[in-house]
């Protein structure tokens, strides 16, 4: 087992046990081993999020344990956020959040932090953002890019609703990126939704956005 896998495995174990303090120790150990904050997000937090979902699916943990792990990850992301301070700023603005009724927000928050680190001005709206207010905020912030997250298949319709209403808000031409489990399971899915791209993770999303938005 390599270092990252070992850390991730320990992290999953201690968070399932409910120990945020032990999870802190794993993160400290990761820094001691010279992992970057990006690697901690992508190689420890993200796979732990996927693993805990799978463990619930196969009845190996309860819903409460799943929420506990997610809460620990979110708390640590908040603490690590200062490390995402950009070295340079770019004249680009992202408005990003989870679509209407979509309560999963860890993944979209990771993406928001990576964009901030890359120098974008980021307006992260959190979970379950009603479509009308999401559109209004996108217009108000003069977004160069919109990010929409849907972890559950049955919330994908909210993405098409958003896209269909962009013209009404004067947002025609503003590119849209999407993310979430359905887009990881099916990477070409975004082409059906009338949006511009999806990313497999936060790093991929930033790379694709910078190619698209000049």
């Amino acid at each position: 087992m390599d270092i990252k896998s070992d850390l991730q495995s320990k992290y999953l174990q201690v968070t399932i046990e409910g120990s945020g303090r032990k999870a802190d120790e794993v993160v400290s150990a990761a820094f001691d081993l010279r992992l970057s904050v990006n690697e901690i997000y992508l190689d420890i937090f993200q796979p732990t999020g996927y693993s805990i979902g799978k463990l619930w699916q196969t009845n190996q943990v309860s819903v409460a344990q799943e929420h506990l792990v997610t809460s620990i990850i979110e708390r640590q992301m908040g603490e690590l956020h200062p490390l995402f301070k950009p070295k340079v700023t770019k004249p680009k603005t992202l408005v990003i959040g989870a679509v209407d009724r979509e309560n999963h927000r860890v993944g979209v928050r990771m993406v928001a932090d990576f964009f901030e680190q890359d120098g974008w001005t980021v307006h992260y709206l959190g979970a379950a953002v009603p479509t009308q207010t999401f559109l209004a905020m996108t217009r108000e912030m003069k977004a160069d890019l919109v990010g929409l997250s849907s972890q559950m298949i049955f919330h994908l319709g909210a993405i098409t609703d958003f896209v269909h209403q962009m013209d009404n808000f004067g947002l025609a031409g503003v590119p849209v990126m999407v993310g979430g489990m359905p887009f990881i399971q099916q990477p070409e899915l975004y082409t059906n939704l009338g949006v511009h791209f999806s990313g497999i993770d936060a790093l991929d999303a930033v790379k694709k956005a910078n190619l698209l938005v000049n």
């Binding site: 699916q57 298949i153 939704l193």
Partner: protein, 129 residues
């Protein structure tokens, strides 16, 4: 903005399903619960379990119709095969429930729209034994 592709399920069928979704779920749950002994092992949770399951299924089906990608339903079936046995729904029972779901759709939604939807359900959501 890139154009949305034309739907596999007609707009009329989608509209019928959306309008009748709740009626389909209500009717299906009532019918399944009426089957003697079928869900006794779930006790007081039987109705909630069935209702939540078919709300999840119907919302997923509706979304897949809207975005014109039925293959996503295969992921849902895979998920259900993992999860439902732990919720007290066996594979055999899941198959019977989906068959009943198809019958209710055919009764509630006018033909030929029901046929469009039932074909998709049978293709993507009916578990093989």
């Amino acid at each position: 903005m890139m154009p949305l592709s034309s739907p596999d399920i007609s707009k009329e069928a989608q509209k019928e399903f959306k309008q009748n979704k709740q009626r389909i779920i209500d009717s299906l749950v009532e019918r399944l619960l009426a089957e003697p002994g079928a869900f006794d092992h779930l006790g007081e949770q039987a109705e909630n379990t069935l209702r939540a399951g078919f709300e999840f299924t119907s919302s997923s089906l509706e979304a897949c119709m809207q975005i014109n990608d039925m293959s996503l339903l295969a992921n849902q079936l895979s998920w259900a095969k993992d999860r439902l046995p732990h919720d007290g729904i066996s594979m055999d029972r899941m198959q019977k429930n989906i068959q009943e779901y198809c019958r209710v759709i055919s009764e509630v939604i006018p033909q030929p729209y029901a046929v469009e939807i039932v074909n998709v359900v049978q293709k993507y959501l009916l578990p093989s034994k």
